[in-house]
Amino acid sequence: MAADSYEDIAVGKGDAIPALEVKPQDLYHAKSFWTRWIFCQDAKVIGIQYSITAIAIGLVALVLSWLMRLQLAFPELVPFIGPGEYYQFVTMHGMIMVIYLLTALFLGGFGNFLIPLMVGARDMVFPYVNMVSYWVYLLAVIVLVASFFVPGGPTGAGWTLYPPQAIKSGTAGGDSLGIVLMLVSLSIFVVGFTMGGLNYVITTLQARTRGMTLMRMPLTVWGIFTATVLALFAFPALIVSCIMLTLDNLLGTSFFMPAMVQFGEQSDYSGGSPILFQHLFWFFGHPEVYIVALPAFGIVSDLISVHARKNIFGYRMMVWAIVIIGALSFIVWAHHMYVAGMNPWFGFFFATTTLIIAIPTALKVYNWVITLWRGNIHLTIPMLFALAFIVTFVNGGITGLFLGNVIVDVPLSDTYFVVAHFHMVMGIAPVLVVFGAIYHWYPLLTGRFLHEGMGKFHFWVSFLGSYLIYFPMHYLGFVGVPRRYYEMYDSEFMTVSTNYLNQFITVVALIVGFSQLVFLYNLITSAKFGKKAGKNPWKACSLEWRTPEVPPGHGNFGKELPIVYRWAYDFSVPGAKEDYIPQDIGPSQVPEAEAEQT
C-alpha cells in the first residue's frame, strides 16, 4: 500500500472496481446568508437546526423538573406553585422530553446529519421538503411555548391528555386555550415529522451509494430508519386523537366525552368513549418508546464497536432485533391501561406480548456485551456513555418485566416505581446515548474534540446522579408513594425515610441539572477552543468520516461519491496493517488483510 494511512487515500480512488458514472445531481446551492444558514436545504444544517431547537426546548423541560422536585421536597421555597401549576409542569415536562426533545433530536437531528453521510449520499432526496419539515417543527415548538403565556396557562392534563378531564374546567388549562394549543402543536408536529420521515425513509432506501447494500449499513442508520417507519404508523394515531379531542373541546362533539355531571350540572356531552382515546393514544404512545429507543440502540452499537475496536457481534441478529422490536411494539400498547378501565381479560394478551419483547431486547444487550469481550476497549467519553447506557437500559428494562405483569402492575401502578422505571428506560438511557453520540460526532461537526475533563465531569455526575435520583424512587414506589401528587401531607406511606429520600432526590436532581450547564459550556467553547481532531479521529470505518473535508462540505463528498467495498465493522481484521478498514477501501488496497471470519 503506497499511502501511509487510509486517510491519505482519496475517496473514490479504490480501483478494485471501476467507478460508475455518477450522474450530476441537482444539488441545492445556497446563495445568501439566509439560504445558507436560515432557510437552508442542506440536511446537515437542518440536522443542526433541529438539534439546537430540541435542546433549547429540552432545557425548559429540565427547569420544569427542578420546580416539580422543589415543590415535592421543599414546598416553602416555591410558594408560587399550586396544584394547578404542578400539573402543568408535569404535563409540559413529559410532553417536551418525549416528543419535542427526544423524537426530534434522534430523528430530526441525528437522522438528518447522519443518514446522507453514512449511506454515501450528497443530501436527502427531497431537500426542500426537508427544510419545510424543520420550520413546521419549529412552529409546533412555538405554539407549545405560547401556551405558557395564554390566560389559564398550559394544559395540566398529564402528558397522556386523557379525556374527559383534559378538557374540563377542573383541570388547569382545560377550559382555556392551554389544551387547544397543546393539541394543535402536536398535530403540527406530526405534519412536520411526516415530511422529515419521507426523506429519512426514501434516502435510506434509494439514495445509497454504490456497493452500500442494506446489510452493509451501520446500525445507526438501521435504528433511525426503523424508528421512522414506526413513527409513520404510530403518529397518525396521535393526530387522529388530537383532531377528535379538539372537536370534542371546541365544537361539542362526543367522540370521547361521556355523559357527565359536573358541579351538579349535566354536561352537553353524551355517549363518548374515553377508553377509545386511551387506545388511540397508546397505539401511538407505546411505539413512541421505541421511536426513541431504536435510534439509541443503533447509535450505541456503533459507539461500542468503534471504541472497542471490534466488529459488532451478531450484526444480522442486531438488525433482526431492531425490526422485530419495531413490529412487536405495535401489539403491546394496552399494557399502559391495565388499571385504566380496560377489560381485564385483555391484560393477559398484552402481558404476554410485552414479555416477548424482552427476547430481542435481551439479545441486543448480550450482543453489546459480547462485542466488548476481548475487545480493545478505549474508555473514551463516548464509550463511557455507551457502557452507562447498557447498565441503565438493563436496569430500566428489568423493572419493565415487573410492570408488564398485570398482577404486579396493579399494586405498583401510579406509584413512584413507574416513574423510576420509565425514566430509567426511556429517559436516562436514551439521553446517555445522545450525550455519547454528541461526544463521538462533535469532531465531525466542528473538527475539534469536546474538552475531555469537562466531559468526564459531565459523565460521572450525570451517570451516578441519575442513579441516585431514580434508584430511591423504586423504593418510594414499593412503600406506596403515589406519583402525580402535588403534596404528600402526613399520609401513611410518608415515613421519615421517604421524606428524607424525597429531599435527597431533589438535591441530586438540582446538581445533575446544573452539570448539564457544564456540558452546554463545553459544547459552545470547544467549537472554537477545543483540541483539533483532524480526519477520522476515532478511526471509524463508516462513511461519514471519509469526507474530503472536515466538517463535511456542501454535497458531503468530493467530486465522486465513495464506493463501498465492505460492511461498516471491519475492525481488527487479521493481517491488516491497521486495526480498521474503512468501508470505501477496496480489497486491492489492503491485500494483506485476510477475510473476516465470524
Binding site: 456497493g211 446489510m215 372537536l247 361539542g252 467495498y565 477475510a595 465470524t598
Partner: protein, 211 residues
C-alpha cells in the same frame, strides 16, 4: 442478471462473507426500482390510508353505542360522488394522452379535472349547508360529527391534490419547462393520487351509507 431477492434473503445476507462481498460490491445502491417521486407518493398514500383507517376504526367503535342516529343521504352526495368518478376517468384519459406526448389534450383534460374538483368541493359545501339548515349539527349526534369530519378531511386531501394539480398544469403549460419525461412523470403521479382520492371517498361514503 439482477434477481429479485425477498426480504428474508436480504436480511440473512452475511455482509462480511467473501462471496457475499463480491456480490455486494456490484450493488448499485437503490433498493427498489422506482423513481423517488413514485416512492414519495406511495409513502403519502400509505400514511393517508393509515390515517383514514384509524378514523374508520374509531367510527366502528362509536357506532355501537345506543345514541347513534343514522343521517339521511341527500341526492347531492351521489351527484358529488359521480363528479369525482368522472374526474378520475378524465384523468385516465389525460394519462394516456401524456404517454403519447399529446400535451394539448393533456392541458384541456387537466382544466376539466380542475373544474370538476372545484365542483366537487362546492357540492360538498352545499351538502353541509343543506344539513345545517335541516338541523343536523356537528354536535347533535356522533353520526353527524363523523360525516363532517370525513368530508372535511377528504376535502383537505383534495385541496392538497389541487396543489399538485397546479404544479402539473404549470409544467405542461409553460413550454420552457417541458422536459417530456418529467411532465409525463408528474401527470402520472397526480393521476395516481386522484384515483386514490376517489377510492378513499368511495370507502368513506360506502361506510356512511351502510351504517
Amino acid at each position: 442478471m439482477k434477481k429479485k431477492e425477498s426480504i428474508f434473503q436480504l436480511l440473512t445476507q452475511k455482509p462480511w462473507d467473501p462471496t457475499q462481498m463480491k456480490v455486494d460490491n456490484l450493488h448499485k445502491g437503490a433498493t427498489l426500482d422506482l423513481s423517488k417521486g413514485k416512492l414519495g407518493l406511495r409513502y403519502i398514500m400509505v400514511i393517508s390510508t393509515i390515517f383514514f383507517c384509524l378514523f374508520i376504526v374509531t367510527y366502528s367503535d362509536r357506532l355501537i353505542y345506543p345514541d347513534w342516529q343514522k343521517m339521511p343521504e341527500p341526492l347531492m352526495l351521489w351527484l358529488n360522488t359521480f363528479i369525482l368518478f368522472i374526474s378520475s376517468i378524465v384523468f385516465l384519459n389525460a394519462q394516456i394522452a401524456a404517454k403519447n406526448s399529446q400535451f394539448e389534450i393533456v392541458k384541456k383534460r387537466l382544466i376539466v379535472i380542475g373544474v370538476l374538483a372545484l365542483a366537487f368541493l362546492i357540492g360538498q359545501l352545499f351538502v353541509w349547508l343543506q344539513f345545517i339548515s335541516l338541523g343536523y349539527y356537528v354536535s347533535s349526534n356522533p353520526a353527524n360529527a363523523y360525516f363532517y369530519v370525513f368530508t372535511a378531511l377528504h376535502g383537505l386531501h383534495l385541496l392538497g391534490g389541487l396543489i399538485y394539480w397546479f404544479i402539473s398544469i404549470r409544467k405542461v403549460w409553460v413550454p420552457s419547462n417541458i422536459v417530456i419525461a418529467k411532465v409525463k412523470h408528474t401527470v402520472e403521479l397526480c393521476a395516481i393520487y386522484w384515483h386514490f382520492l376517489l377510492a378513499v371517498w368511495i370507502v368513506l361514503f360506502g361506510l356512511m351509507l351502510f351504517t
